[in-house]
Amino acid sequence: MNVEWYIVLSSLLFAVGATGILIRRSPVVILLCLEIMLNAGNLSLVAFSKMVGNQQGQIFAIIVMVVAACEVVVGLGLIVAIFRRKLPLDVDELRELRG
C-alpha cells in the first residue's frame, strides 16, 4: 500500500475526532475523541517513518503514547473529582471559568 493511503486515513480519523469533540458534551467522550486524534497523529508519524526509512518517527510515536497516557490519567482524575463534588458531567454546564 502506498504511504498516502495511510496519511489520508490518518487525516480522516483526525477529522472524525475533531467532530466528536465539537459535538459531544460528556467529558468522558471528549477524552475518547482526543484519543482518536492522538492516534491519528501517531499513525501519520509511523507512516512517515516507514516512508523515510528511519525509526525515529516510531520513537516519536511512543513518546506521544506516553504523553497520551498521562493525559488520560489526569483527565480521568479530573472527571472523578468532578463527579465526587456532585457537579454535572456536562461541559456546557461547567462554565465557571467562562469570562
Binding site: 500500500m1 502506498n2 504511504v3 498516502e4 493511503w5 495511510y6 489520508v8 486515513l9 487525516s11 480519523l13 483526525f14 477529522a15 472524525v16 475533531a18 467532530t19 465539537l22 459535538i23 459531544r24 460528556s26 468522558v28 467522550v29 477524552l31 475518547l32 475523541c33 484519543e35 482518536i36 492516534n39 501517531n42 509511523v46 516507514k50 523515510v52 526509512g53 525509526q55 525515529q56 516510531q58 520513537i59 511512543i62 513518546i63 503514547m65 504523553v67 497520551a68 497516557a69 498521562c70 493525559e71 488520560v72 489526569v74 480521568l76 472523578v80 473529582a81 463527579f83 463534588r85 456532585k86 457537579l87 454535572p88 458531567l89 456536562d90 454546564e93 461547567l94 462554565r95 465557571e96
Partner: protein
C-alpha cells in the same frame, strides 16, 4: 494480501472512531474505541512498526481502556440532553470536520513529497523491532525516555491528588463543616457550587 489487511483494518479504525462519536452511551463508546485501537495496531504492523503495535495493544487497548471502563462504570453512562447551547451546532460541527479533512488532504497530497506515492522505503526485517527501538530509546533518545518517566510519575501523583479522598474541612474551607451543603446547592444544574464561595 496487504491491501486486504489495510482496507479491513482501515474500516475497523474508521468504524470505531465513528462509533465513539455517534454512540449515545459512553460505555459503548469505550468499546468502539477498543476496536479502533486494535485496528490501528494492525496498521502499525503493516507499516513494519512491531514494537509500536505491541505497545499500542498492551498500553492502550489494555491498560488505558480498563481505566476508561472503570471510570465510565463509576460515573455512570448517562445520556446527554438534546439541549443545544449554540443553535445548529450538531449540523455545523460535521461540516467543520469535513472541511478539516479536505484541508489536511490538500496540505499533505499537495505537498511535493514524491515518496508519498511509493510503497515507502525498503527496510530490512529488523526495522522497528523491539531491539532496534530499545537501542534508539536508551542511546540516542535517553533524555526523552527519562523525561517521559518523570512525566508519568508526575501524572500518577497528580491523579492521586485530584481523585483521592479529601479530608473534610481542609480543602473546602473551615467555614463549611457539613458535607451535605454542596449536595444541596447543586440541585440546580446551572448553579455550580464553587469551593469556598460561601466563605
Amino acid at each position: 494480501m496487504e491491501a486486504v489487511l489495510f482496507f479491513a483494518s482501515a474500516l475497523g479504525a474508521l468504524g470505531g472512531a465513528i462509533g465513539v462519536v455517534a454512540l449515545r452511551n459512553p460505555f459503548y463508546g469505550v468499546l468502539a474505541l477498543i476496536v479502533h485501537l486494535f485496528s490501528l495496531a494492525v496498521l502499525f504492523l503493516l507499516l513494519s512498526a512491531a514494537f509500536v503495535a505491541a505497545a499500542q495493544v498492551v498500553v492502550y487497548a489494555g491498560a488505558v481502556m480498563v481505566l476508561y471502563v472503570f471510570v465510565t462504570a463509576y460515573v455512570g453512562g448517562d445520556t446527554e440532553s438534546a439541549w443545544e447551547p449554540i443553535p445548529g451546532q450538531r449540523f455545523l460541527a460535521p461540516l467543520m470536520g469535513a472541511a478539516l479533512f479536505i484541508e489536511l488532504s490538500i496540505a499533505v497530497l499537495g505537498s511535493s513529497l514524491v515518496a508519498l506515492g511509493t510503497h515507502g522505503s525498503d527496510v530490512n526485517p529488523s526495522f522497528g523491532n523491539p531491539a532496534a527501538i530499545g537501542r534508539l530509546l536508551l542511546e540516542r533518545f535517553l533524555l526523552a525516555f527519562e523525561a517521559s518517566s518523570i512525566l508519568l510519575l508526575l501524572a500518577a501523583v497528580g491523579a492521586v491528588i485530584l481523585a483521592g479522598r479529601r479530608v473534610e474541612g481542609t480543602t473546602r474551607g473551615s467555614s463549611e463543616h457539613s458535607s451535605e451543603a454542596p449536595a444541596e446547592r447543586s440541585e440546580d444544574p446551572l448553579v455550580v457550587p464553587s469551593p469556598g464561595a460561601s466563605a
